[in-house]
């Protein structure tokens, strides 16, 4: 299936947006502007961009603690995301959710979750709603390699398979939980084979090739809608930064990090591919400038916007 030039540029643009958004956050954190920690997805832009851009607005996603990329790729405004991380009223969650818990219902983002594997069973419920309401949509459930050892992962896959639910399970295998490498944590064969063991069609792909991600998600989405039942993608990728801001990266070598940055970076690779296919460097430079401007504008706007007021938080716990 041919991807149009427009889509290619969109995919590139979204990866750049995610990369620069995360780098802006890094800078803000360094300047002491952010409270709490962050789980940056630098290096994993292709899975977020490729997957979400293959979905429609009414398709849903659930996201993870490392979810800024998912949120942006599903259509979120950088301003409202910065505002959320800065505890502003204009933030997606009015400053109550923060980095790990951003939801954007209007764009079909059912929310990021701070509990590893926390959203797998939730996505099963949302898929059940689609099935009961006879909607022509799917839910794409993002989770990491750490999640595949949680009990809820197994319960969710088992039930989704039994009930033929329209969930696309997408594992972003960045090869480390927090400090534990997947080969020390995951018994048996590949993560994808766990999907197969529940009777779910599963595939392992290069998560740093944005077109591969896009095509496979689109493919599986169409299959889910035509023949019912969940699908499973294991997208192999890599994160450049530590798990969170307190991570000293003692569990991996700087050589390994350098290798992934130089040889496998999703953005670098795609730029190479786009230029080879005839897209001009100037066009890419324009996109870069646009996004930098957008990020700067959004950060400034968020910094200037009012803090979320202290309302009766006990009352706000209840609908």
């Amino acid at each position: 299936m041919a991807i149009t030039k427009d889509t290619q540029l969109e995919l590139h643009r979204m990866m750049m947006l995610i990369r620069l958004f995360e780098e802006a956050l890094e800078e803000m954190f360094s300047r002491g502007l952010l409270h709490g920690t962050m789980h940056l997805s630098i290096g994993q832009e292709a899975t977020a961009a490729g997957a979400c851009l293959a979905l429609q607005k009414n398709d849903l996603i659930t996201s993870t603690h490392r979810g800024h990329g998912h949120c942006l790729a599903k259509g979120a405004e950088p301003y409202k995301m910065f505002a959320e991380l800065l505890g502003r009223e204009d933030g997606y969650c009015r400053g109550r959710g923060g980095s790990m818990h951003i939801a954007d219902l209007s764009n079909g983002n059912l929310g990021a979750n701070g509990i590893v594997a926390g959203s797998l069973t939730i996505s099963v419920g949302a898929a059940l709603s689609f099935q009961m309401q006879k909607k022509e949509n799917i839910i794409l459930c993002f989770f990491g390699d750490g999640a595949v050892n949680e009990g809820s992962f197994h319960e969710a896959l088992n039930l989704a398979s039994l009930w033929n639910l329209p969930v696309l399970f997408l594992c972003e295998n960045n090869q480390y939980g927090m400090s534990m490498a997947t080969d020390k944590a995951v018994a048996g064969d590949s993560i994808a084979s766990r999907g197969t063991s529940y009777g779910i069609e599963s595939i392992q792909i290069d998560g740093n090739d944005v077109e591969t991600v896009y095509e496979n998600v689109l493919n599986f989405k169409n299959e889910i809608l035509s023949s019912g039942g969940p699908k499973f993608i294991e997208a192999v990728t890599y994160r450049y930064r530590g798990h969170s801001k307190s991570d000293r990266n003692l569990y991996r070598t700087s050589d390994e990090i350098e290798y992934w940055k130089e040889e496998k970076d999703p953005i670098k690779r795609y730029i190479g591919k786009l230029i080879e296919s005839g897209i001009s460097e100037d066009q890419l430079k324009d996109i870069d400038t646009d996004i930098r401007d957008l990020i700067r504008k959004s950060v400034k706007q968020a910094l200037d916007s009012p803090l979320s007021p202290i309302t009766n938080l006990e009352e706000d716990s209840y609908a």
Binding site: I122, V124, S317
Partner: protein
């Protein structure tokens, strides 16, 4: 007004809910053709079909989790923990998800779920099938916790819980399932069982007894004891243990100036200790004539032998004796 058991009253409430709400559905273990371990969903599969009455594998985590996800996307799930003890396997979806999402997402989403469970002791089911864990959930902001005590309030409380936009933990003590009484099967449930409202079962002026769940029935028997016939005893059924109706309790205490709380659960960090603590902290402290007391289960896992089990659970005489000592 027909006479029926609590189990049947709940069944009627569920049936009414499913009839009137096309997005409502029930999920749980053995709730379909088996009719539920305690018969509460008996006949509903035949009435509503397997799209609405969904038997699940033994998977409490995803049973509760799917309720959260479905409720965020237009569904109205009522899920069952076969024994409320199994809710422990569902703690993440309930405590970290259901209770938190409305707040964390800045009010942009509601999680209107009911998680029902068969709780309590007295059937010889022993330690892992007899617990009263309601106070665990009272400790979590964002959840409501409801504990019916009889057929009528079970019916009404379930209907009220269904229309509440918050996640509700609905703990049905096993011993109330077989209690029979006349039940008004109204489409609009009674105001006296609105969530967060306690019900004064017996009016009096000498002492206030606060209780909930099956212990209300034990307390009822206790206050009917011959030795207490000369006393006027006010018995309050909390009905909802989170949030607690302190207004009703305080108004009662202004009259009686004596407080006794009775519960089956052990006392540490329980509903009863919370009630007593709140009253002691309040403006009523100086008006009390005697220190408040708590009659509670022993701090022990539930033994299986009958005579040992009865030793752990407060009995009628235990309550009668404590009342006598306070009057």
């Amino acid at each position: 007004m027909p006479e029926m058991t609590t189990g049947k009253a709940l069944n009627k409430a569920l049936s009414l809910i499913l009839e009137k709400n096309s997005t409502a559905f029930i999920a749980g273990e053995d709730i379909g053709i088996y009719g539920g371990a305690f018969g509460v969903t008996d006949g509903l599969l035949a009435q509503f079909g397997d799209e609405r009455i969904k038997d699940t594998p033994i998977s409490e985590d995803v049973i509760a989790g799917l309720a959260v996800g479905a409720s965020m996307t237009g569904g109205k799930p009522i899920v069952e923990m076969q024994f409320s003890d199994f809710i422990v396997n569902a703690m993440d979806p309930i405590v970290n998800q259901a209770a938190k999402l409305h707040f964390m997402y800045g009010g942009s989403v509601n999680v209107p779920i009911i998680v029902r469970g068969a709780s309590g002791a007295g059937t010889g089911a022993a330690a892992q099938h007899s617990q009263s864990l309601e106070s665990w959930f009272c400790h979590v902001p964002g959840l409501k916790v409801v504990t019916p005590s009889n057929p009528q309030n079970a019916y009404d409380l379930l209907l009220h819980s269904f229309v509440d936009p918050n996640p509700v933990i609905f703990m049905e003590h096993k011993l109330i399932y077989k209690i029979k009484d006349n039940v008004e099967l109204n489409e609009i449930p009674k105001e006296s069982s609105m969530l967060g409202k306690a019900n004064i079962i017996n009016e009096g002026k000498d002492i206030t007894i606060v209780s909930y769940s099956n212990m209300v029935n034990v307390a009822k028997e206790a206050i009917a004891a011959k030795e207490l016939q000369n006393y006027s005893i006010e018995l309050i059924d909390l009905q909802t243990v989170s949030p607690i109706d302190y207004d009703t309790i305080k108004n009662s205490l202004k009259k009686t100036k004596r407080l006794l709380v009775c519960q089956e659960a052990p006392s540490n960090s329980s509903v009863g200790t919370t009630v007593i603590s709140k009253i002691v902290e309040s403006e009523l402290f100086n008006e009390l004539e005697i220190a408040p007391k708590l009659v509670s289960g022993l701090h022990s896992p539930m033994p299986s032998a009958k005579h040992l089990e009865l030793n752990v659970i407060p009995q009628v005489e235990d309550i009668t004796n404590v009342i006598k000592s306070m009057l």
